[in-house]
């Protein structure tokens, strides 16, 4: 494909509460054996984009570990590759943090300048969806658009957080603004764009000159009359993990057969780093209902309506309900966990009882 990819993986998000203390949101484990950024990376790889830059800053260690090799997404080629660009540190007193997604790209203008592909595909790293950038580019060319923004069907919570996109019948974007309260439907900007490389460079320079840092506010809204900005209506599954509740719900979505079929069985697939864990082992006493269990797990107890990530040990007589257990957790015998998200690399003592009542409880546990 005649495009380079940029994945915006910068965001710090305190709506994720304690979960984002240890990792960037885009490195959040999802659906048992994936990380959020796998979806953006796989979409780009499946669309035959060869050169991809990941722009990251907060808590990037976990993300960097995940991206230690580009081979899982087939980016290790001569004509391309996977690049991770943290903010530049120019001297010991002054660090240039990325102050917005447009600013992050502006600080890496050299990457854009030194490429030769005519287009740039931009995706946020925390969107859970499948998108074919090749057909998105076809749409972009068909509309002779300057910028194409993917718009997804959002829940009221998404609308409140991301705002809504107002489009005319042709798809041209009239405005992006706060959603009318409680309508429950509308399109939200999904953070996925196609734009000509030279135009992006030009707009980023203008944006920076005017002190802007944000794509939506300082580029899309500001240039909406001057440039032809089109919306591409994404009809298929899309979620963005902006809060603990939406993270929890997105994981639980994978208990639906249609969602599993769409992501796990239909072509093209979603790829992730291979961990080479043995297959999950279920001993006597395990009873599992409506749940996902990943490789490397050893289960001895009851698991219901839950998602169990990789290498989790569930002891005897445990009851785990409506919960998400992240990777490398040891749960001692006779424990009860309900409505919780158990943080990764955790050690839950035997006889523990964690129960989220009015909201999902995050269990950090004792290390």
């Amino acid at each position: 494909m005649r495009a380079i990819g940029i994945i915006l993986a910068g965001g710090d998000n305190n709506r994720m509460r304690e979960l984002s203390n240890r990792r960037a949101v885009c490195a959040m484990p999802i659906a048992g054996s994936f990380r959020a950024i796998d979806f953006a990376l796989s979409n780009m790889s499946n669309s035959r984009i060869k050169k991809v830059a990941v722009l990251t800053q907060y808590n990037a260690r976990s993300l960097n570990e995940h991206l230690s090799s580009s081979k899982w997404w087939d980016f290790g080629s001569k004509q391309g590759g996977l690049y991770v660009f943290p903010p530049a540190v120019n001297n010991y007193t002054n660090t240039w943090w990325y102050s917005g997604d447009a600013d992050a790209m502006y600080q890496n203008l050299a990457f854009l300048r030194n490429s030769h592909e005519p287009y740039v595909a931009i995706a946020s790293a925390d969107g859970i969806c499948k998108i074919d950038f090749e057909s998105l580019l076809d749409y972009h060319i068909e509309k002779s658009a300057d910028i194409t923004l993917v718009c997804a069907k959002g829940t009221q919570e998404d609308l409140n957080r991301f705002g809504t996109v107002k489009m005319n019948d042709e798809g041209r974007i009239a405005d992006i603004g706060p959603a009318p309260p409680e309508t429950g439907n509308g399109y939200v900007p999904a953070g996925i764009y196609i734009i000509r490389r030279r135009l992006l460079i030009e707009l980023l320079q203008k944006c920076a000159a005017a002190g802007g840092t944000d794509i939506i506010k300082d580029i899309l809204i500001r240039f909406k009359d001057e440039k032809k900005i089109y919306g591409f209506r994404l009809k298929s599954y899309w979620r963005s993990m902006s809060t603990v509740e939406s993270y929890f719900r997105t994981n639980m979505d994978f208990l639906e057969p249609e969602v599993r079929d769409y992501f796990f069985r239909q072509y093209p697939g979603i790829y992730s780093k291979q961990d080479d864990n043995p297959p999950a082992h279920f001993n006597q006493g395990s009873a599992i209902q409506n749940s996902l269990v990943s490789s490397g797990c050893v289960i001895n107890g009851t698991v219901e309506d839950s998602v169990i990530f990789k290498k989790v040990y569930v002891g005897k007589n445990c009851v785990i309900r409506n919960s998400i257990i992240l990777n490398d957790v040891y749960i001692g015998d006779n424990s009860h966990i309900e409505n919780c998200i158990v943080e990764s690399r955790n050690n839950i003592r035997p006889e523990s009882d964690y129960c989220g009542t009015d909201e999902v409880k995050i269990v950090i546990g004792d290390k």
Binding site: Q284, A287, I288
Partner: protein, 425 residues
């Protein structure tokens, strides 16, 4: 010049008649194992963990799937600029595809070995299960100042010994007087040769296309005054010499914590594989599972007891699977009862079928290969709904109701295309 201390040649093996229809479509080393792996993964993982980064896989039979599985070796970290894994053919212009011996198969890749200028060559089977550090075996060879090291398994009761070695590991030739305190061993088929010694033997035996490592090369070395030593290996080692042994090795994984089978959970000797499935297993509200291993991406809606289920398998609601091995991507309908069976890759089982009922009867197809109670459903075989299948049966290819008179297949029977009762297999 490229120089490697030790390179490995893995013998992926030919068609193994002893495994019956399990090897109908694939070489033995490419048969799925343990819900995720293929058998060659064990040898390849042993190589990379033992510090061997140059591996030739010598193929003889049906190499396509093996080739696809190994690829350029990414999954085993064997994608190297210098060395790495290479799938080697044993094609020979004059003899075509005639049966050849193991030494001949190695000899036909003489050039491959020569280009790395190795000091030692490890030759190991690619179709056996074990976790073994070849580097320790090499250290042993060096300490013994030997020319050849043979991996030696202690002989269990009732087994035939292959050779005798003294307490230090020195192997006696048949015409030497064997001391009384020597031990009896059988060979594991794993050897380390000094390259110069192997080279000389292969060149001397090159005119015999049936030359075998065990029967010709080792005696040749011994006759020419080379020093052979026995490296004793007492860990888990399985040759998988029959369908029943394959089934047992799978089920033993379930009781690894009780000292049986291989331990797949070791963090520092992981078995690597090239797996297409990455998704977690899904269990529906109607599922029940105990004492089982279930591969990635499987969809379990029925009961699974004491079984090994491969990646991407679908098990319908109301189905019961017990004491069985189901390989990758098989589809099991609803209301099926499976008791003691091997269901191969991609097989499809119709609804309400009973697999494994009644009493054992000797196999009419091949009583030597099929001598257990297991029902074996071949690769991509299809079984229609509502039939009953007796014990010790073999089913291959797409079958329909006409193949099951009165909806049953009697114990000991088989449905194989172009085979009818009374024929020899």
């Amino acid at each position: 010049m490229i120089r490697k201390e030790m390179i490995a040649m893995l013998l992926a093996g030919g068609r193994n008649n002893r495994l019956g229809i399990l090897t109908d479509g694939v070489a033995k080393s490419a048969i799925p194992f343990g819900g995720k792996y293929r058998i060659i993964d064990f040898s390849l993982s042993n190589c990379i963990h033992s510090g061997i980064d140059t591996v030739g896989v010598v193929t003889k039979y049906r190499p396509v799937r093996l080739n696809k599985h190994i690829g350029i070796g990414v999954s085993w970290d064997l994608d190297k600029n210098y060395g790495g894994v290479t799938v080697l053919p044993t094609f020979h212009e004059e003899s075509g595809n005639a049966v050849i011996g193991s030494a001949e198969a190695v000899y036909r890749n003489f050039e491959y070995m020569q280009q790395y200028h190795p000091e030692y060559v490890l030759i190991a089977p690619g179709d056996h299960l074990c976790k073994m550090d070849y580097e320790i075996m090499l250290d042993f060879l060096k300490a013994m100042q030997a020319d050849v090291a043979v991996c030696a398994l202690p002989v269990k009761e009732g087994e035939k010994a292959g050779f005798a070695a003294d307490l230090y590991g020195y192997i006696y030739s048949p015409d030497e007087e064997i001391p009384a305190d020597s031990r009896q061993y059988k060979s594991a088929g794993i050897y380390i040769f000094q390259w110069t010694v192997l080279k000389e033997a292969l060149l001397a035996l090159k005119d015999d296309p049936l030359a075998d490592l065990e029967e010709d090369v080792l005696p040749y070395c011994m006759k020419n005054g080379k020093k052979l030593c026995a490296y004793e290996f007492t860990g888990y080692y399985e040759k998988l010499s029959s369908p029943a042994a394959y089934w047992k090795a799978n089920l033993e994984l379930l009781y690894e914590d009780r000292g049986m089978g291989l331990n797949l959970n070791e963090h520092f000797w992981k078995i690597y594989t090239n797996s297409e499935q990455n998704a977690p297993v899904y269990f529906s509200d109607t599922s029940a599972v105990s004492d089982s291993i279930i591969g990635e991406g499987a969809d379990i809606q029925g009961r699974v007891i004491n079984s090994v289920i491969g990646a991407g398998v679908t098990v319908g609601p109301g189905t019961v699977i017990q004491d069985s091995v189901v390989m990758q991507e098989a589809y099991i309908g609803s209301g099926v009862l499976i008791d003691r069976a091997i269901i191969c890759e991609g097989a499809g089982i119709g609804d309400d079928t009973v697999i494994g009922f009644g009493e054992f009867a000797p196999s009419k197809l091949d009583p030597n290969t099929y001598n257990s109670e297991l029902v074996i459903v071949g690769e991509n075989a299809v079984i229609p709904p509502d039939v009953k299948i007796g014990r010790n049966t073999v089913i291959s290819g797409v079958t329909n109701d006409d193949d099951y008179p009165e909806g049953e297949l009697a114990s000991g029977s088989a449905i194989i295309p172009d085979w009818k009762e009374g024929d020899n297999a």
